[in-house]
Symmetry: C2
Subunit: 229 residues, 2 copies
DNA sequence: AAAAATAAATAAACGCTGTATATTTACAGT
DNA sequence: ACTGTAAATATACAGCGTTTATTTATTTTT
């Protein structure tokens, strides 16, 4: 057999490859990802994959983009589910969604925020849009607080030059956003990320989805420190 | 040639293997670590390594323990360098040491807090002592604040049961420590870790060792929130 | 409808990896 | 000097990502 007839082929092989990849990652962890194993599962040969992805890194990049998109969906859904005039509620919803997504899809989380694939080197330019979109929900809400004059920026320092060039890239993906809002949003992001990444990696005890005292405390701390009244 | 005579052998081959491994990790990144490449560098054959490490994971575990030890050295040195009655100074020194170590040895940092080695599965029991030691400096200082009645624990919630069993393991490595101190220390740790891990992974702009506005702001936030007067 | 072009798959092979097994030999203890 | 042990090599295996050449199903052109 050299090439199966169309009826026996898998339609949308590109998607099938990604699905098989996710299945492997979920089951055996990201580092176990193997093109040959994917091929075995789909009953094709390994080089056939190269018709759809130029190399393994391209496949991983596609997976990372999918993960960011999934993450962004949760973030944006959290932002939009809360009524638009209750900013506090929105901020908390986004915070909770961050951890819930990470606990629901720990492998996707690791794929994004860890570096669990053997020789993979990130293709930042390709990933950037989905990445920027996923953080946009948080940035938007912080900016809304700022616009409403409710953002406490008394102690927030001026933005340095290197920093400015970095966030300029982001600005094209969000509506207009104030440098001070960026600073606060990044602090929030870092705090939330700090707990969740320690928790996912097993350095913190897992409280489960409901027993999240430490996390809730931090969300509360964020509100008290950065939101007026 | 089957076995070189002793004069031509490398003394302390075990250490030489680890050194070569670190050299590779520093140069090409952790995922590129290869037993065969180490063997080539040391001009021995790959199976010879198995006389010193039962498998590759054992070598990685040894490297992780070394990394934790190095990290712990910096932490403890920071704790002890500040005069013992200036607790604020001690806390800040530990915080700065955390980031400085990470920026000095990004590969070691990734080895500990990322999961960058292909199929490596952590040997937690073996790593635990060096890991616990490295965090002990922070825990100690927080506990000192508590003992001096200067720890602000008003808003800190009661410790849950799952949490208690976890920190009981740590207690054997520190002197007596209060549950509330543990909670605060973990918050501090998570905050510091959040920024540094984003920074190391390139998700935050690198400010360099001096331009660390965001980090200094967080250290300041920690002091204001948790330290009285 | 036949022929040519294209695209998608296989087959085979290369060099790399970690690791197991058997073999050799330098060295230590008696 | 002999023997036993420990540390190295030699060889081999299976798996990996990837490259090249080949085959063939499908599409396009004549």
């Amino acid at each position: 057999m050299v090439r199966p007839i169309k009826k026996k082929q898998i339609p949308n092989l590109q998607d099938a490859i990604k699905e098989a990849a996710w299945k492997q990652i979920t089951e055996f962890g990201a580092p176990a990802l193997s093109l040959r194993a994917i091929a075995r599962e789909l009953k094709i040969t390994a080089p056939a994959i190269y018709n759809y992805f130029p190399d393994r890194d391209a496949l991983v990049t596609a997976l990372i983009i999918d993960a960011y998109t999934s993450f962004g969906d949760w973030q944006i859904e959290a932002r939009d589910s809360a009524s638009s005039d209750d900013l506090h509620n929105k901020l908390e919803a986004i915070g909770l969604a961050y951890r819930n997504w990470a606990l629901t899809y720990p492998q996707r989380y690791q794929l994004i925020f860890g570096t669990p694939i053997p020789g993979y080197t990130a293709h930042r330019e390709k990933v950037f849009p989905s990445s920027a979109r996923s953080i946009s929900a948080l940035f938007n809400v912080v900016e809304e607080f700022y616009a409403a004059g409710k953002l406490n920026i008394d102690a927030v320092p001026a933005v340095s030059e290197t920093y400015k060039t970095h966030y300029e890239r982001w600005r094209t993906y969000f509506s207009e956003i104030n440098p001070l809002s960026v600073f606060v949003a990044m602090i929030i992001w870092a705090r939330v990320h700090g707990i969740v990444s320690l928790e996912i990696q097993g350095n913190l005890p897992s409280f489960g989805k409901k027993g999240d005292a430490l996390y809730l405390f931090e969300l509360n701390s964020i509100s008290r420190q950065f939101i007026k009244e």
